[in-house]
């Protein structure tokens, strides 16, 4: 069974530029999560989808971050414009349903200069 796929693996941008990350969850998983992991910290949930609907985006900085999950499968996370403090690893995870075990992708390491 294929795992959670993410791309790109690495991205370097300058502040005020925009960037987008892509996630393909495990087939059949209804729930998809985006986490931000700043160096030296644990992952922090940004947004949770159930199929193509948003369940929790309480910690998503909505002035600059946006995410969508069209057709309830793939998802994209966008940052526009990026700030220096957005430098982090962005992890995507999926689970069969809310409350079930999450499976993580390899992450995208973002560096904002």
């Amino acid at each position: 069974e294929a795992g959670v796929a993410q791309s790109p693996r690495y991205k370097i941008i300058e502040k005020r530029q925009s960037v987008a990350f892509w996630c393909n969850p495990i087939s059949g998983h209804a729930t998809l999560y985006w986490y931000q992991q700043i160096l030296g910290q644990g992952p922090k949930l940004l947004i949770q989808f159930q199929n193509n609907g948003v369940v929790d985006d309480s910690q998503l900085p909505k002035d600059r971050f946006s995410a969508e999950r069209l057709k309830g499968v793939d998802s994209t996370l966008k940052i526009q414009p990026a700030k220096l403090e957005d430098s982090a690893v962005y992890l995507c995870a999926s689970s069969p349903r809310t409350g079930a075990t999450q499976y993580f992708g390899p992450g995208t390491r973002l560096t904002v200069l």
Partner: protein, 115 residues
């Protein structure tokens, strides 16, 4: 609000020695509990989980964890550490809130293994 505390930021052990990583949580009811491992440049891999039932949980790679309700703890143990266990370990809590499950991760414990 629920929280997760991993009091040890770094732990160093010798290869072959036993290991215990601490995790304490704060939540009104019994949450779902997880341990993940993260190697450099990798995503998180699930080691084990506790949902209910037997409080001693066996996981992959020889790890086990014990849920102690009275202490609000879910400590991870391994009887004999291998050099390949060097990584960062995260404890996580999943708890129901506002009709869905919210997951909170601890800040992690970085394990160094001496040859």
């Amino acid at each position: 609000a629920q929280s997760v505390t991993q009091p040890d930021i770094h732990i160093t052990v010798s290869e072959g020695a036993s290991l215990e990583l601490r995790c304490n949580y704060s939540y009104g009811a019994t949450p779902y509990l997880f341990w993940y491992v993260q190697s450099p440049g990798q995503g998180l891999q699930l080691l084990l989980k506790y949902f209910s039932g037997d409080t001693l949980v066996q996981g992959i790679k020889g790890f086990e964890a014990e849920f102690k309700r009275s202490q609000s703890s879910f400590n991870l143990r391994k009887p004999s550490v291998h050099w390949s266990d060097a990584a960062e370990y995260f404890c996580a809590v999943g708890a129901e809130a506002s009709g869905t499950y919210k997951y909170i991760f601890g800040t992690g414990t970085r394990l160094k293994v001496l040859a």
